[in-house]
Amino acid sequence: MKKFVSLLLILIMAATMVCGAYAENGHQALLNVAGSDPEDVSPFKTDKGTKSMLWSVYESLYDLDPKTGELCPVLVDGTRGENGGYTIVDDTTYEIYLQEGIYDHAGNPVTASDVAFTYMKNIEKGFKSYYSKLEEATALDDTTVQLKLSAPIENVSELLPYFINIWVYTEKAFNDSPSGLTTDACGTGRYKLTQFVSGASLTMEAWDNYWQKDESKINERHQAHADKIVEYFMSEETQIVIGLETGSIDICTKISTESCSDFLEGGMYANQVAVSTLPDNKEVVLNPNCSPESPMSDANLRLACFYAIDNNYVVRALGDGTAVACNALGVKEGTVDYNEAWETVPSYQNTYDLALAKEYLVKSNYNGETLTIMTNTDNNGAYKTVALVISSFLEQLGVKTEITVYDRNTADSKRRDPKAFDLEIVSAVSVASSNMEMYNYLFNTQTTGTDKTLWYVDDSRLNELFTTAYAVKTNTPETMEALYQYVIDNGYSFGLLRMNANVAFRTDKVEDIMYQGQHLVVPGSSPLK
């Protein structure tokens, strides 16, 4: 028996050492990235955050400059057309002009008919909402695509998906793909997808024959600095931290602030790993349930609650560097319609005033009911902490609360029951270039199919102001201002905070992190050392 045990121990030691040596030799990829599981590599759902790596494989007609929010031509020829690559022929007809000489990774030429095919195929795949008014896309010639719409496009944010949420692929590539481009990819981007292991990793290699030969036309987000990128789909943050510490991970596209402590100033690995932090382009909002079933249908109670909450304190409670407080209902960076004056005009967004809150409470019909604060488990349970702090503030006001926490999908379902909650802490949608994208989510009644918003606001004046500000012809700073003020005056939503999105990277390999329009990391274009 002793011999058996000894032999076993020797075998285990030998095996681990051999494997260790093997593993050491196996690290040949130039850039190892820890990211989230995209589930598939299809080019249809383009705004899915976990698919950001595919941004280097596929290209859209335009992309957004993250600093200015402006459209930058990618596949279109920016020198043609009245609007830098496209022309509005009439209210319902658009013409888009492609560059010449585009071809995909398989060598197929990309023509206007392929772009038209992409539009129609994406709609067929269920993504009609990107191009909700598109009736037909046709090719007029090899480089001109005509879009026929059922109604005029009303807003810039409505127009953007037509140009950005379209990763162009050729009809031939789609038909040749055994999986219909679900588990394999063929785009026009700087990187070729060479391997996709579902649930584990994807590997991309720089494409030497990139169609755009004129370097001056390639913007910084389309550079290929790394020869090969391997993205591992990792959910366990301890593993990611260890990967960064040992150097087996070069970039982690998303990591919580708590896990970054070793990498921040004074941390054990601060000289090897840096953290790039950007406030998320999604605002975490506190929305009242305005249905008659809830006490929050009372405007005075809403204002009382909101004035009793200090969102700067809420942010502090989440921990240093975890989030930033919002002084207005809107995202500032990269948006064209944010008004900096909102931050200075006194409102519950930037003022904590318990005395005023108590005045509103006296005016309200609040009868000591217990209010239910609903939230979800996103962001590692940070929203639950937010709910706890808000609950304490409301307790101070004399409003009783209880907290219910669900996973996000359950919370989305529970919202359909007006009796299930009184206040909800929820992350609004990502804002790419216009805050109307967020206002659309919060105040558009079309998403519910009723006259009410998702949070049961049934207010014809709000609807009118929203429709005016949303329409492209009447979208002016004045109409936006009127909508904003009306929302704030009635306490329809409270922009609490924005979570910080941390990107960690090895400083011995990566010089800086490159972002694209929607605050997503582009590892291949990040300058290397």
Partner: protein, 318 residues
């Protein structure tokens, strides 16, 4: 014997239909709208309704259940995953070999190491060898799998830098998941084998064999071991069935793309076809493994065989 097997196979089919019914009913009542998950946030009410109609989610419970059972058991169509956008069986079968292999290695190692240790402890009952092994076995059984996994990662990946912490590309990637999965198996098998051996050691036939002067080696290998191993087979079978579907912790910690992780992700995203099919397939594998265990049991345990043969003869006479 064949009748016994056929009877068990018939039961297996019933178990599968029952599982399908239960999982369908449970998921039907779980909150969460697939349209919210699959479509962009900007999708209108009409687009969501159209999506639900296309998938038949607006039909009544009975209609949906009937359609599901018909498709699954008559047409053998397990559907397409709403999140992975590929046929569920394709995704499952691409992951199954990894999970199966991981389970097989951990079970085999658990048995190969755990069983001799258990016998060794039993043969040295109440001596230091026995005490040491049982303390270690208790530690092995008590250690949470995720904690052990993280400790191993810290030791072998961060401190010693011998092994990779994640991935599936090389043999080295498998070492830590295998060790983590094996430790509890070794401990359980050693404890079970020890008590089983001690029970056998005290049997009359062992005393008789020793009294007849049979060499100790023969007593152990010919008389004691075959009898002591019988309960272990059942335990190993159950471990195998459980580990095929229950390696979620291992797969999650080591970013190991197996069936457990697929199932977990499917539950999070309310991917109903993926959840239903995964559970059904796992139930099938577990039931098959247990069937094999029962058959082996019947083959090697003369008491069960005799019982079955006797009941068969009895029926023929009647």
């Amino acid at each position: 014997m064949w009748k016994y097997i056929l009877k068990r196979v018939a039961w297996l089919l019933l178990v599968l239909v029952g599982t399908a019914f239960v999982i369908f009913t449970v998921m039907y009542f779980v909150p969460g709208d697939p349209a919210d998950i699959a479509l962009p946030a900007s999708a209108t009410f009409e687009e969501r309704q159209a999506f639900r109609n296309e998938l038949g989610l607006n039909d009544s419970y009975m209609v949906q259940l009937g359609r599901y059972l018909y498709k699954t058991f008559i047409k053998l169509d397990f559907g397409t995953s709403w999140t992975y956008n590929v046929p569920v069986m394709q995704e499952l079968f691409s992951r199954m070999p990894r999970t199966f292999m991981l389970s097989l290695i951990t079970i085999v190692l658990g048995a190969v190491i755990g069983i001799p240790l258990g016998i060794y402890a039993a043969l040295h009952q109440n001596r230091w060898q026995d005490h040491t092994m049982m303390v270690l076995a208790m530690v092995g059984v008590s250690m949470p799998e995720f904690w052990l996994a993280l400790m191993l990662v810290i030791l072998f990946c961060l401190r010693l830098q011998w092994l990779p912490a994640f991935g599936i590309g090389s043999v080295a990637n498998w070492v830590l998941p295998v060790i983590t999965g094996t430790v509890a198996g070794i401990a359980k098998n050693a404890r079970q084998m020890r008590s089983s051996t001690l029970e056998t050691v005290r049997s009359d036939y062992i005393s008789t064999a020793r009294a007849k002067g049979v060499p100790e080696r023969s007593v152990i290998y010919k008389h004691m071991l075959p009898n002591a191993l019988i309960p272990i087979i059942n335990i190993i079978g159950a471990q195998f069935g459980k580990s095929i579907g229950g390696t979620v912790v291992l797969e999650s910690v080591f970013t190991f793309p197996g069936v457990g992780l697929f199932l977990l992700n499917s539950i999070n995203t309310r991917d109903l076809p993926a959840i239903r099919s995964s559970v059904l397939i796992l139930a099938f594998f577990t039931a098959v493994v247990m069937l094999i265990v029962d058959i082996i049991y019947a083959c090697i345990d003369p008491r069960i065989k005799a019982q079955y043969v006797a009941s068969g003869k009895g029926r023929r006479k009647a």
